[in-house]
Amino acid sequence: MKIVILYGTETGNAEMLAEDIGDALDADHEVTCTNLSDFPVGEFDAETLYLVVCSTYGDGELPASAQPFAEVLKAGATSLAGVHFAIFGLGDSEYEETFNFGSKRLAELLTQHGAVQLGERATHDASGVDLAEDLALPWATEAVALAESRFGKAA
């Protein structure tokens, strides 16, 4: 399957996680890993699974590298109909009111433009005990399985 991992990052933690997910999926799939800041919204296609990894920064805001992408989506009438994505968020429950709002905002934005979200949004808590990759790798495997049944073909 064609998989594009898109990450929105501020400190680099989401980028590192995106690369880990890419390494884990690389053997069985055609994987690329791209910063949202380098991904034109016109490049989405219906044959690809998009795995989105996005942190939260400041007061529940999108991280810096996701902001230009979000601005373009907000400004235009881009249709993401037929696009499938799953999303994983990074956040810190020290800031409980806005915990993982970055990934929440981004998921909303993608679905508002017609993209289909596969599975529940998964989240990591920097103040929790789990390592991000221990949650994200099973999430990615699950998302790939959902996409395979949705796309009606294996790998």
């Binding site: 590192m16 920064y57 810096a64 920097a126």
Partner: protein, 410 residues
């Protein structure tokens, strides 16, 4: 031959630079050199003990050493153990990323009186920095001067109840100091109007969660831009928060004029208000959180001049830009600098093999990355339900932990 790059300072700027360099050119020989036996600088000693989420960037930095091939040379004091000239001849490129650790002084009468302490000095002591002095007696009514996140960190830690420090890596001595502080009232005073304060709104909002304080915000005024309005909203959200006996009060638009003392002790800060009146804000101590400057350990002006010249010397992070910008700002900055360094190296042959890290061989106790991991394992072994780590705060004990393999447990 591959190029050898020395980065002086293994804090966030140095680590992000090494990360960006090695991501672009995995063959480079990158060595991070630190005056301390442990890496990560400000992340370990500046980021507050109760902000462990912010310290999680060290997982990225660990990979620089574990997967990207960078080496750590800790407990090496450039300028004393090795000279800058020796470093320059041992490496193709030298980068200074030593930060700015000295507290800027108020620059008013009596600003060095006993009872006037720097926020950086307190932060280092709270974070168990091996060279930090003892934690000071702040008395019952400390006054914090400054409107940035460093000031908020101090207020938050001073205002927290012991339970609210669960999960931090605050040490036992520091925990006792906070618990026994006897603080009744904290004043946070800024020279500018509230809307121009440098606080992050999210840091202000976080104060609203403290159970052991009652917060008031005086004369916050109005804002004429979006950031200012967000800040005023955050301040309004915590104004009147809590009913505890211990108070936190924010005061804005007060220009410090002189430190008032009696019998050699601080009794207040003379200020000019926005109306032009002179008043004295009473206090038992003054914590200055008005920015940082060079500690003067390395000749910064000379180094910055070299960095501007054609010499293969560069400066990064706060040491280059001054004390502004967050950890992610320094990541972005490091990525730009890495591109500059790589462009300068492009097409330049590394020439004869340079000695690189062999420069540090000899009788002194250099702590390498495996040595740091031994220190860290010992620190993590002390963790319990209340603390995620028990830092080793003494330099000799760090070196001992680094250089001696731990007893194998039975």
């Amino acid at each position: 031959m591959t190029h050898k790059i020395a980065i002086v300072g293994a804090g966030p700027s140095g680590c992000y630079l090494a990360q960006a360099l090695l991501k672009a050119r995995a063959d480079l020989g990158v060595d991070l050199i630190d005056v301390l036996p442990v890496p990560y600088g400000l992340v370990r000693y500046g980021v507050a003990a109760d902000h462990q989420g912010s310290k999680a960037v060290t997982r990225q930095f660990a990979r620089i050493f574990e997967r990207q091939g960078a080496r750590f040379f800790g407990n090496v004091h450039v300028g004393r153990d090795v000279t800058r000239d020796e470093l320059r001849s041992a490496y193709d490129v030298v980068v200074f990323a030593t930060g700015l650790a000295a507290d800027r002084r108020l620059g008013i009468a009596n600003d060095a009186a006993p009872g006037v302490v720097g926020a950086g000095a307190i932060t280092r002591a709270l974070n168990g920095h091996p060279d930090a002095g003892p934690l000071p007696d702040l008395g019952a009514r400390p006054l914090i001067v400054g409107n940035g996140n460093v000031a908020v960190d101090i207020v938050r830690l001073l205002g927290k109840l012991p339970d609210e420090l669960t999960g931090s890596d605050l040490g036992p001595e520091q925990t006792r100091w906070l618990a026994e502080s006897g603080i009744e009232a904290i004043t946070v005073l800024g020279r500018s109007p509230a809307a121009q304060a440098k606080f992050d709104p999210v840091m202000i909002k976080e104060l609203g969660k403290l159970a052991g304080v009652a917060i008031t915000v005086d004369n916050a005024g109005t804002a004429d831009d979006e950031h200012g309005q967000k800040l005023l909203d955050a301040l309004a959200a915590i104004d009147g928060d809590g009913t505890a006996a211990r108070t936190i009060r924010f005061v804005f638009s007060h220009v410090p004029l002189a430190v008032e003392t009696q019998g050699g002790r601080v009794t207040g800060l003379r200020c000019r208000t926005v109306q032009g009146d002179e008043i004295v804000v009473g206090c038992t101590s003054i914590v200055t959180a008005i920015g940082f400057e060079d500690i003067g350990d390395l000749p910064r002006a000379d180094i910055l001049a070299q960095a501007d010249s054609a010499a293969p010397v560069y400066a990064a992070g706060w040491f280059r830009r001054g004390p502004r910008g967050t950890i992610p700002d320094n990541r972005a900055d490091a990525q730009v600098l890495a591109a500059d360094i790589l462009a300068d190296l492009d097409g330049v042959s590394a020439g004869p093999e340079r000695p690189g890290g062999t420069l540090f061989e000899g009788p002194r106790d250099v702590v390498d990355y495996p040595g740091w991991l031994r220190i860290e394992r010992r620190e993590l072994a002390g963790a319990d339900a209340a603390r995620c780590r028990v830092k080793i705060c003494d330099r000799a004990a760090m070196i001992e932990a680094a250089c001696h393999a731990e007893e194998t447990s039975s």
